[in-house]
Symmetry: C2
Subunit: 541 residues, 2 copies
Amino acid sequence: MGMLASALSSFNKKSTLLQMLTSLAKTVGRIPASWGRHAWSIGSEDPRRAVHALKAGTALTLVSLLYILEPFFQGIGKNAMWAVMTVVVVLEFTAGATICKGLNRGLGTVLAGCLALLIELVAAGTGKVLRAFIVGASVFIVGFAATYTRFFPAIKKSYDYGVLIFLLTFNLITVSSYRQQDVVSLTRDRLSTIAIGCAICLFMSLLVLPNWSGEDLHSSTVGKFQGLATSIEACVNEYFRDQDEGDDVLGKQEARASIQIGYRAVLDSKSSDETLAHYASWEPRHSMHCYSYPWQKYVKLGSVLRHFAYTVAALHGCLESEVQTPPSVRSLFRGPCTRVAREVAKVLQELAASIKHHRRCAPDVLSDHLHEALQDLNSAIRSQPRLFLGSKHACAANKRVLLMELNSGSGKLSASRAALRSFKTDATALSETRNARSDQPPPPSDRSERSGGLLRPTLSKIAITSLEFSEALPFAAFASLLVEMVVRLELVIEEVKNLERVANFRELATGHNHLIVDLGSKEKTRNSNAAALHPVSAAAE
Amino acid sequence: MGMLASALSSFNKKSTLLQMLTSLAKTVGRIPASWGRHAWSIGSEDPRRAVHALKAGTALTLVSLLYILEPFFQGIGKNAMWAVMTVVVVLEFTAGATICKGLNRGLGTVLAGCLALLIELVAAGTGKVLRAFIVGASVFIVGFAATYTRFFPAIKKSYDYGVLIFLLTFNLITVSSYRQQDVVSLTRDRLSTIAIGCAICLFMSLLVLPNWSGEDLHSSTVGKFQGLATSIEACVNEYFRDQDEGDDVLGKQEARASIQIGYRAVLDSKSSDETLAHYASWEPRHSMHCYSYPWQKYVKLGSVLRHFAYTVAALHGCLESEVQTPPSVRSLFRGPCTRVAREVAKVLQELAASIKHHRRCAPDVLSDHLHEALQDLNSAIRSQPRLFLGSKHACAANKRVLLMELNSGSGKLSASRAALRSFKTDATALSETRNARSDQPPPPSDRSERSGGLLRPTLSKIAITSLEFSEALPFAAFASLLVEMVVRLELVIEEVKNLERVANFRELATGHNHLIVDLGSKEKTRNSNAAALHPVSAAAE
């Protein structure tokens, strides 16, 4: 019995161990699978990434042949390795970046070679000690000067890598010259191998399935317009939704989180815009039909869009603020506000479409709708004089309404008044909470919890004070921001028109109401050029 | 006479030529001088730049000695050049960046060396053709895989340079192995020379007048608080200035331009913050007194500050908007609004000072002042019920006032009413302008002029429509944004407290009203540690 028991227990142990091992093996086995899924998701997110990796592999194999194949090796020799290194370092994702790096590398190498040969001329025929001194001193001086130059904003922006390569090549040649006699052939080798490497990179990135920075910039600009349109519509809808659809907290949080995706992308786009425009300015593709494609106009448009997006962010702030106008009051303005937002979104979508297809837009029609929507909002606000007074008109209306109310006490506004009362009750409840906890600081757990979500309400004494303000104030801010947004939209339209003019977009009415046939003579020639060339670029997209 | 005249004219010609040459020479001579001034200004802007350039020169000279001095050359040989290259590439401005690059380079080289030797083991003893195939295939596969890996966000963020060096070294060794027998010694040489180069770089950037990314991040965070404080005060002062100081257009434009410097710096700080925090996380300096200094908290604080700065941007938008509440109405709220702005600025300055000196702040005292200022604003708004109605209180007051007005028609408010009337006149004048030009599009010259300044008013029909809105609306937005700003300031304070807690700032009252003596036992030990170590860091600043 004892043996059986021990055997059983050992079997149990073994089986437990086996189970553990199996599960461990499964876990370990799952790691490559999860990595694989991760890798796959990165590729499927943007298939150009996989293509670029394939291109890099091919370029490296090609350049390695220089070293491996006998005839090439005889010609170039061991320094073929520099060509390999050049390919590793220069080949970038977009064509513009590759050209920028390649030219920088070439220019830096040439300049460094010239300077190094000059110093070689000076140092030629001197004694060993003097030569060492000359080499050391020139390395120090050039090292200092080149490093200092990299702080110049103009150089840092476009030639940072060139200066680095200049320093690298200069040191390589100068220091080598101390022990090697044939510096000229060394310089020639370095130049030619780097040229071969750059040529392979340029071939791969310009001619084999190229990725253009300019196209990225173009489509990211289009995406920004679309994102803003989505954000604005979602934000305004959310602002007026509350009273309809109960307390679906999770769905609400999700909807609110989705609002900021659109405008956040615009607000955070500065550095990526500038990089893309910088690389795009090196790309030859668009230089065919005008002297230089106005990529800087896209950067300018991006900054105007950011200026516009600040208003969207502020609008979102109204939504997230804990100082709120009661839903019943808000609902009075639901129609006109949503209409303004819809019209703004429509204009943005229209601008996005026109930029996307390189055609001129006709925003006048849309502006008219927007104009009507604004007037709607205007009259809606004026028709509620109890909330917004000021203009003579509204004043008079207000007096009338108040007199009526004093006389009868009934009418359309009594409902909203009841709402105001119920809101006050809420505020009182919150004040009680505040009184209960205003003296001691919040516990640490609460604090850390709060720091998780950026937009979660803080209910401290400062925040609560604001609840005592007139509750028309928050809605006034909301409406005012809507108006301000329309004003800034005007600036965006101006900037888009500017871009369209400079970039020679096709003059084509969208077919809403009318067709623009009247073209100026100067415009006509410019646009016939553009039309002749655009089918190519449209096909390449 | 003829000869004299021709001689004179030739003299005149010569002197003109001479003058031209002299002026040309002067111009050319002035170029180096102006370059020199430019270079000097860059150095005097931040003297650490010149120091860094000197350090780079010294490091390069030191590493060149490896090649020049006989004993070193005997030990290392021609591959000493790799050490020179390492110094050129790895030495960066801040210590964190140098460490990051150095470690990446080291790690990449080691891994590549291992993999290359493994493949060498496999390929050893095979024929020439098979070997060429193995080399080519491994170059392709590793090239593809490494390039693809660089798209992984986690790798891109921290190890991008490491993967590049991995690829470089792998190709160098694998391709060389085709013609060179002694690959092991090649690998060893590459490893040791890169190690020497990295060691020199680390010595130079960590021990000789180091520049810390962490300190840059710290001081830029302090600067952001100060910039925001300046912006807010300037913005609010400007909003209420108009009626006092006539039409000093130039001074006004300058003052307005200065407003945006402060908050723009905050809004545009995302990528530089993240880079600095990334490099700072590699720096060893702060790891002495806590496990790891919470640099990511600075990034978090930066994002909360950006959230706060959106409100400042919106406030600035109110100032620049062409829909304006008339100055006479605004001036009614001048006192309380400026007070709120001053208190907000004071809190920001206090937070800046506490972060700067690594001590905990006591914002409760300041919050109280802010609270009072808000209540001031609240009662100011409530005392003008003609502008903001809504709460029961204000409603009642309004009824009273209106009844009074109906009876007598005189009182404090008639002045503001007159102002409203005069404003209406302005609006009418603008409407006339609009009617005159609403039909034809603006001329191109006007258009291009307009596109110059981002914040210049556009007076198109859309913008004008909004002038028909109640003019209390813009001020309501302004006041509401002030309140919202205070609410968000709360979030900023929370985040600063969070940072102070995690980073173990000294518990020290600012001496305003009281001194915090009561330290918890755990806090005490932590803070005595911090106090023991902080004098060093304070001295190093």
